[in-house]
């Protein structure tokens, strides 16, 4: 039974650790499906995390914090759009620049406003998103198997966790069942076809980037207002890049993206769980090795195990009307 509890606990932390990856991955999916590469997911998450925690602590409202996180993150997405759509700049350069600006400006503004070494003040309970306890948790807690799964795995997460997972079917529905989704996928494959059909390529791509900004904002807010009780410098710690890896691994498909992010989250959870625990046959493994495991597996998966991942054909190429 202990092992069962341990598995439930690992799965529970898998969910918690997957959420920021999943939100960022879906964010990237919108822009990359529209033909705009976005290596700046990391930076947008970071500014979202900072803006969310800062606004929440100043205005004492978790929802105002979330709103601010989304607003700032969308603003950064629009900067990326201005550089790479309107001015047809290099999308990778623009994305990297956004990551640098995000890393620097959050620490600088944090220090200037709060004087806590670039942190934001610790968030009080009302300023964070609290776990939601589902009805009937206490009643079923004692029931074997179903009890722990319901009370630990399904219940007891913040609203943002449920939003993240609901975004998966929603994104699928938007992409494959709506006019907007059809056009968005088309503009990522052949913008000239969209242009000659009388649709504005630029406006369509901007709208895709706004979707990206909203989701990275939520991802950032989750980091600083759910996982952590405030903003800490560089708290995204490469999650934006892992999300990009997951996106390729998922071949730019929403449901695949969820499983990819759950896999990366699971590896992360496992590495935390196994730290300091002697493994059978191998014995005690250094902490650093366990921490590196998700990244090592990322490389291996991307290098060989996903088959051919065909990116959107117009990805990374600014649209220039042919003469």
């Amino acid at each position: 039974m202990d092992i069962f509890i341990a598995i439930v606990q690992i799965l529970d932390s898998t969910i918690r650790l997957s959420v920021p990856l999943l939100l960022a991955c879906l964010a990237g999916l919108y822009s990359e499906r529209a033909g705009v590469f976005d290596i700046g997911l990391e930076g947008k998450m970071l500014v979202g995390a900072f803006a969310g925690a800062a606004a929440a602590s100043v205005f004492h409202s978790a929802f105002l914090g979330l709103g601010m996180a989304i607003l700032i993150s969308v603003a950064f997405a629009l900067i990326h759009g201005f550089a790479s759509i309107t001015h047809r700049g290099n999308q990778i350069v623009s994305g990297v620049a956004i990551n640098f600006i995000a890393a620097g400006s959050t620490i600088m503004l944090g220090q200037h406003w709060f004087q806590q070494g670039g942190r934001t003040p610790a968030l009080a309970p009302g300023e964070r998103f609290e776990a939601i306890t589902w009805p009937g948790v206490d009643a079923v807690r004692g029931v074997p198997i179903i009890g722990p799964i319901y009370s630990e795995l399904i219940s007891g997460h913040s609203i943002l966790v449920y939003i993240a997972f609901l975004m998966v079917p929603f994104t699928w529905w938007v992409l494959f069942r709506t006019r907007f989704g059809l056009r968005l996928r088309a503009v990522g494959e052949n913008p000239a076809a969209v242009d000659t059909a009388g649709i504005s390529v630029a406006w369509l791509r901007y709208r895709a980037l706004i979707c990206t900004g909203i989701l990275t904002g939520v991802a950032g807010a989750y980091l600083s207002m759910v996982q952590n009780g405030g903003f800490v410098k560089d708290m995204t710690a490469g999650k934006g890049y892992i999300a990009l890896a997951a996106l390729i691994f998922a071949k730019w498909k929403p449901v695949n993206a969820m499983f990819a992010c759950l896999l990366f989250g699971f590896l992360d959870a496992l590495s935390i769980r196994l730290q300091g625990t002697p493994l059978p046959l191998i014995g005690k493994v250094p902490v650093q090795f366990m921490q590196a495991l998700p990244y090592v597996l990322t490389v291996i998966l991307l290098a060989g195990f996903i088959g051919k991942a065909i990116p959107p054909r117009a990805g990374g190429v600014p649209y220039v009307k042919e003469r």
Binding site: F176, R177, T178, R179, F180, G181, L182, R183, R185, A186, E189, N190, A192, A193, V194, D195, T196, A197, G198, I199, R313, K321, R323
Partner: protein, 510 residues
């Protein structure tokens, strides 16, 4: 007086210093097929792009159905009933036919309703015009002829009354082109107006009612097709008399330069594309390989030039074998005097993003003439490129211009200049004049014959039968991977056509 579907009055359009359209006047009569011919760069596509709202005219007026129209975006054009089939299809390759048809013309924010509506509409169009295509097929799995049909369906689905087709037959096989023409005639019978942009005069004669000729941005003439001739149109296009058939003397064939023996090539699926082909190519002769596209000519060319792996057989260049494993070093073959002008200049012959001068030495960049120590001698390369530009009349005469900005005919001249000027013993040319306009065709043909007269061996593969007959000293006909006959240049078109269709072979088998 028949009613005008479109009137263009005094249209001007410049791109920087280039005046693409100068004071164009044109009237297109409703319910007719109106051809617009002109060389590449004459301004045909620009004019049609203005009509479709892709560009704005600098000045001038457009009237549609007698009413002045302001066409600022493709949307405006679509609303006025103008549809366009672009030269390079504007389709999303991994979308279904239905998805492509509704893109931009969705009737509802949700796809389900739009798709259902489009499905029944497509059925109606199929019945009315014989435009059959599986609505659920994925575009990239369809042959180009069907992809083009999807483009036509897209325009009709948007309620197009006036259909503009930009070089529609460039990518089609002759059979597909015939089918297209039947469709266009049917559209005309239903009262639609068709504008056909092309540089192929044969098509103009076959299908149009009226033809307008453009040259260097101006509209030089409009004729009733019945009352004009190919010769007159060619002269109007180029501005001087054009020899549609080049003059050449008797070949003085010398020794064997290239000997192909029992060559067999299979494609990646294991299908035999070249089947036991043998022939000799001698110095001082042009051998033409005729055949309908897709009968193994491309594979034969690639195998001989060392690019494609051959299953069996041998190719001897000056008595020494060529590596047929598909891993031959192209540089080594060049050193041995084999020059290759590939069929697909965009993917194999040129790097479109490079400047003209860089492409004009590509593959020969190790030649000491272009080197200064370990570095490229930029001045030497540019001077060399300038010489070639002059000699081959490549336009615009700017060796620093990006290759992508040259027209198809001029790009082909860049490749030909590069390969011919290396003075190779054997020249292999695939589709020498594909997408090249009349004036340049004459020039290229003359150059090829000049090569022959210098005693070089020239192998030409072309799907244009006229070209093969005009150039070749000997004609080999390929069908289903085999050489099914050899004829002299005096062979009639009908005789060669039957061979190309594999008819004689079947009779012989019986």
């Amino acid at each position: 007086m028949a009613q005008a579907a479109i009137e263009l009055i005094g249209i001007n359009k410049s791109f920087g210093a280039v005046r693409a359209n100068r004071d164009i006047n044109l009237e297109i009569v409703r319910g007719t097929i109106h051809g617009i011919v002109g060389e590449n760069g004459a301004g045909k596509s620009t004019l049609m792009s203005i009509l479709y709202g892709f560009y704005q005219a600098d000045s001038g007026e457009i009237r549609v159905g007698g009413q002045p129209a302001s066409i600022k975006t493709p949307n405006d054009a679509i609303a006025l009933g103008i549809g366009m089939v672009h030269q390079h299809f504007m389709l999303v390759d991994n979308f279904s036919v239905l998805e492509n048809v509704i893109l931009g013309a969705e009737s509802d924010a949700l796809l389900k309703k739009s798709i259902a509506k489009a499905r029944s509409e497509l059925e109606r169009l199929e019945r009315e015009y014989g435009l059959e295509v599986d609505p659920d097929a994925i575009i990239e799995e369809l042959p180009v002829g069907l992809q083009q049909r999807v483009e036509i369906l897209k325009a009709l689905y948007r309620g197009a009354e006036i259909l503009i087709l930009d070089e529609p037959t460039g990518v089609l096989t002759p059979a597909e082109a015939d089918h297209l023409f039947r469709i266009l005639k049917q559209l005309k019978e239903q009262g639609k107006t068709v504008v056909l942009i092309t540089h192929k005069l044969r098509e103009i004669m076959a299908i149009t009612d009226t033809v307008s000729v453009m040259r260097q941005g101006t509209m030089v003439a409009t004729r009733e097709t019945k009352k004009t001739t190919v010769e007159e149109l060619a002269e109007l296009m180029v501005g001087r008399r054009v020899l549609l058939r080049v003059e050449k003397g008797e070949a003085e064939a010398g020794g064997v330069k290239l000997a192909v023996k029992n060559l067999t090539v299979k494609d990646t699926r294991g299908v035999t594309m070249v089947d036991d082909v043998s022939f000799d190519l001698r110095a001082g002769e042009i051998v033409g390989i005729a055949g309908v596209a897709g009968n193994g000519q491309s594979e034969l060319l690639e195998a001989i030039s060392g690019i494609r792996h051959a299953v069996s057989g041998s190719v001897m260049l000056d008595g020494k074998p060529i590596d047929l494993t598909g891993k031959a070093d192209p540089g080594e073959l060049r050193d041995r005097g084999l020059a290759h002008v590939p069929e697909d200049r965009h993917h194999v012959g040129l790097v479109l993003a490079f400047e003209e001068n860089e492409n004009s030495i590509l593959g020969y960049h190790d030649d000491p003439r272009y080197l200064k120590g370990p570095l490229l001698d930029i001045d030497a390369i540019r001077n060399d490129a300038k010489d070639k530009i002059t000699k081959y009349d490549i336009r615009p005469a700017d060796c620093r211009l990006k290759t992508a900005n040259f027209s198809g005919g001029n790009q082909q001249k860049i490749v030909l200049a590069r390969e011919m000027e290396q003075d190779p013993g054997v020249l292999i040319v695939g589709q020498p004049t594909r997408g090249v306009d009349v004036g340049a065709i004459e020039f290229i043909h003359k150059r090829l014959i000049a090569m022959r007269d210098q005693g070089k061996a020239v192998l030409v593969v072309s799907v244009e039968l006229d070209e093969i007959r005009s150039l070749s000293d000997r004609i080999l006909v390929m069908f289903a991977g085999r050489i099914v006959g050899e004829r002299g240049p005096e062979a009639s078109e009908g005789e060669l056509g039957l061979l190309m269709a594999g008819v004689e072979q079947r009779e012989a088998a019986e």
